[in-house]
C-alpha cells in the first residue's frame, strides 16, 4: 500500500503544532527491518475516513515515542532511531475496513528480560487510541538479541519428562471437581483416586486459593498425602499442581516454599497475577527445581474477538520468554473456543526450536527460539476418552491432556475414569506407532481396547457422542490459500 504523505524533516518538522503521524516519521514504506528490530503485527480498524497509512503511523507513534503534538525536546535525542516505523499495511482478506499493520521497533526501546516493559509499549496506550475503532495485536517477532535476554522456562519439556520419567506419550491430568466447596480431606480423596487410577497429574482449578471451605495449607497437606500414596500404589511419579496464586508476592512465595517442603514437583499460578509476578515465580522455580504450571485465567477477555485485543499466540510467546513450563493452550475439540489450526499455531509457538511462518495456523513470522526451553501446552476443558485419536493427531506427544469431568464424572468412579483415559491413550499411541491411521481408525481402536477394559467401555458409552461443534470466532484469515504478500 502506498501513501502520498511524506515525512517532513528539518526545521519544518519541529514547528509547534500538530502534524500527521506519517509526516512525523512513523511511516516508512521502504523501511527494511534490521536484524535486531522487534516487529509487531497489528490488525486495525480505522474510524471512517481515517487513512489506513496514517492510522498505521499512529499505531507506531503511540506505541513508541509520539505524543499528539510536536515537541522540541525530541531534538535532544537520536529520535529517528526511537521512532517505531510502520512499514507495511495490507488489507485483511475478506474483512473490509481492517488492515494488517507491521511495525518495527529498535531494540533500544525495551528493557532486557522484562515482559512488563515490552507490553507497556506495545499494548500500552495504543489500544485506546480514538482514530481506531479497534486494534488487535496479532503476532510478534523477537530477534535473537532480545530473546537471549530472557531465561525462559525453568524446567521445559525435556527436563520435565526426565524428572517424571515419562516418555513417548502425552501426559494425563484432571482438574479436581467441584472446583469450589470441597474440604481439604475430601479434595485430597479426589486427587488420590485420579492419580491411582492412572493419571500423571491432578490439578487445582484457577480460583482455588485459600477460601473459607479449604485453607491453602490444608489443601497442600492432603494433596501431597494423596500424591505420595498414589506414587506408592503405582510405582510411578505423580504430581498435583498446587495453585499458589494469592493476593501478594509475599504470600505466593510462602505457599511455594511450603509446596517445596512437602516435596511437590510442581506449583501453579494464574495468568491474572500479572507478567512481573509470573517472571518472579519463574525465577523462584529455577532456584528450587520446581515446575511452573500457568492457567490462562482471564485471557478470553482479550484474546477471543478477532477485531480487538491480543491474540493468544502472542500471549504464548510472551509466556515462553517469561518462563512457564506449562500453559493452557486450548483443545480444539473441547468445550472452549479454539479453531484447530489456530490452536496448533499456539502449540507450535510453545514447542518449536524454530517456528516457521504459517499463515493458515496464524503464525506470521519465522521465529528462532534460540535454544530457550520448550513449554508443555495443556489441553483442558470438555474433552473425553472418545476423542483420544483426534487429540493425539492434533497435538502429538508433548502435551498434557486434562480430563476433569471426563475422569471424575465416570459412572464407575474416579479411578475407573482415570483408567479409561490412560488405556485409551496408550492404545492410541501404540496404534499410531504401529503405523495405523488413527484419524480414520480411532473409534475402532478405542472400541477394541474397550472389549477388555470395562472402564473405557463405560466412558465411550457415556460420552462417545458428545462433541462441541460451534463455530470458532478466532480463526485464520488465510484458510483457503495463503494470499498475503510476503
Amino acid at each position: 500500500m502506498e501513501t502520498k504523505v511524506k515525512e517532513i524533516k528539518g526545521k519544518e518538522r519541529y514547528k509547534s503544532g500538530v502534524l500527521k503521524y506519517a509526516q512525523m516519521g512513523y511511516w516508512n514504506g521502504e523501511y527494511e527491518p534490521k536484524a535486531t528490530d522487534i516487529i509487531a503485527l497489528f490488525r486495525i480498524t480505522p474510524q471512517e475516513g481515517v487513512d489506513p497509512i496514517e492510522a498505521a503511523a499512529a499505531v507506531a507513534g503511540e506505541s513508541s515515542t509520539a505524543t499528539w503534538t510536536v515537541v522540541w525536546t525530541d531534538r535532544l535525542t537520536a529520535c529517528d532511531s526511537y521512532r517505531a516505523k510502520a512499514y507495511r499495511v495490507d488489507p485483511v482478506p475478506g474483512n473490509p475496513g481492517q488492515y494488517f499493520v507491521y511495525v518495527a521497533y529498535d531494540y533500544i526501546l525495551f528493557e532486557e528480560g522484562s515482559i512488563a516493559n515490552l507490553t507497556a509499549s506495545i499494548i500500552g496506550n495504543v489500544f485506546s487510541f480514538k482514530p481506531l475503532k479497534a486494534a488487535r495485536l496479532e503476532d510478534m517477532y523477537f530477534p535473537p538479541a532480545y530473546v537471549k535476554t530472557f531465561k525462559g522456562p525453568p524446567t521445559g519439556i525435556v527436563v520435565e519428562r526426565e524428572r517424571l520419567d515419562k516418555f513417548g506419550r502425552p501426559l494425563l491430568g484432571a482438574t479436581t471437581k467441584p472446583k469450589l466447596g470441597l474440604s481439604g480431606k475430601n479434595y485430597g480423596r479426589v486427587v488420590y483416586e485420579g492419580l491411582k487410577g492412572g493419571l500423571d497429574f491432578m490439578k487445582d482449578d484457577e480460583n482455588i486459593n485459600s477460601q473459607p471451605f479449604m485453607h491453602w495449607r490444608d489443601r497442600f497437606l492432603y494433596c501431597m498425602e494423596a500424591v505420595n500414596k498414589a506414587t506408592a500404589a503405582t510405582g510411578e511419579i505423580k504430581g498435583h499442581y498446587l495453585n499458589i496464586t494469592a493476593g501478594t508476592m509475599e504470600e505466593m512465595y510462602r505457599r511455594a516454599e511450603f509446596a517445596k517442603q512437602l516435596g511437590s514437583v510442581i506449583v501453579m499460578i494464574d495468568l491474572v497475577i500479572g507478567y512481573t509476578a509470573i517472571q518472579s515465580m519463574a525465577e523462584w522455580c529455577r532456584q528450587n527445581d520446581m515446575m511452573l504450571h500457568l492457567h490462562r485465567a482471564g485471557h478470553g477477555t482479550y484474546t477471543r474477538q478477532k477485531n480487538h485485543g491480543v491474540s493468544f499466540r502472542v500471549i504464548a510467546k510472551w509466556m515462553r520468554l517469561a518462563g512457564v513450563d506449562h500453559i493452557h493452550a486450548g483443545t480444539a475439540v473441547g468445550k472452549l473456543e479454539g479453531d484447530p489450526m489456530t490452536v496448533q499455531g499456539y502449540y507450535n509457538v510453545c514447542r518449536d526450536a524454530t517456528t516457521k511462518l504459517d499463515l493458515q495456523r496464524g503464525v506470521y513470522f519465522d521465529q528462532d527460539w534460540c535454544d530457550i526451553r520448550k513449554v508443555m501446552p495443556v489441553a483442558s476443558g470438555g474433552i473425553h476418552a472418545g476423542q483420544m485419536h483426534q487429540l493425539l493427531s492434533l497435538f502429538g506427544d508433548d502435551v498434557v491432556l486434562q480430563f476433569g469431568g471426563g475422569t471424575i464424572g465416570h459412572p464407575m468412579g474416579i479411578q475407573a475414569g482415570a483408567t479409561a483415559n490412560r488405556v485409551a491413550l496408550e492404545a492410541m499411541v501404540l496404534a499410531r506407532n504401529e503405523g495405523r491411521d488413527i484419524d480414520a481408525e480411532g473409534p475402532e481402536i478405542l472400541r477394541a481396547a474397550a472389549k477388555w477394559c470395562k472402564p473405557l467401555e463405560a466412558a465411550l458409552d457415556t460420552w462417545g457422542n458428545i462433541s462441541f461443534n460451534y463455530t470458532s470466532t478466532d480463526t485464520s484469515d488465510f484458510v483457503p490459500t495463503p494470499v498475503a504478500a510476503q
Binding site: V158, K229, E236, A353, V423
Partner: protein, 129 residues
Amino acid sequence: MRITQGCFSFLPDLDEEQIKAQVEYCLRNDWAIGVEFTDDPHPRNTYWEMWGHPMFDLKDAAGVMMELNACRKAHPDVYIKLIAFDSTRGFETVRTSFIVQRPKVEPHFAMTRTEVRGRTVNITLTERA
C-alpha cells in the same frame, strides 16, 4: 502390584510382534534403542543397568530383538525396558520407553510417614517384596 512406569503399562503385556513394531517406529525416527534392566523399580531409580550401549546406526529391528532376548536369557526374572534416545538438538533425551519384561512377583512400595513440625509429614517410599 503392577508397576505402571513406561509408555504401555496399562495395556496387556506386548507380544514379540508388538514390541518389534514399536522398535521399527523408533528406528524410523532415527532414535537409538537401548536395553536396560533392574531388580529395583523404585520410581526414583533413574539408572537401570545397561545391556550394552544404545544401538546407534541400526537399521533392522531384528538386531534389537536379538539383544533383548539375550538380556532376557541372562536376567529372566527382572524388569527390562526398551528406551529410545533422540540426539536432535533441543531434545537430546529419551523419546520413548516401555517395559518388555516383568519379574514373576512384582514388589510393592510401603510409605513411611514421619511426623515433623506442625502437621507436616515427611514421606519415604520403600520397596517391599
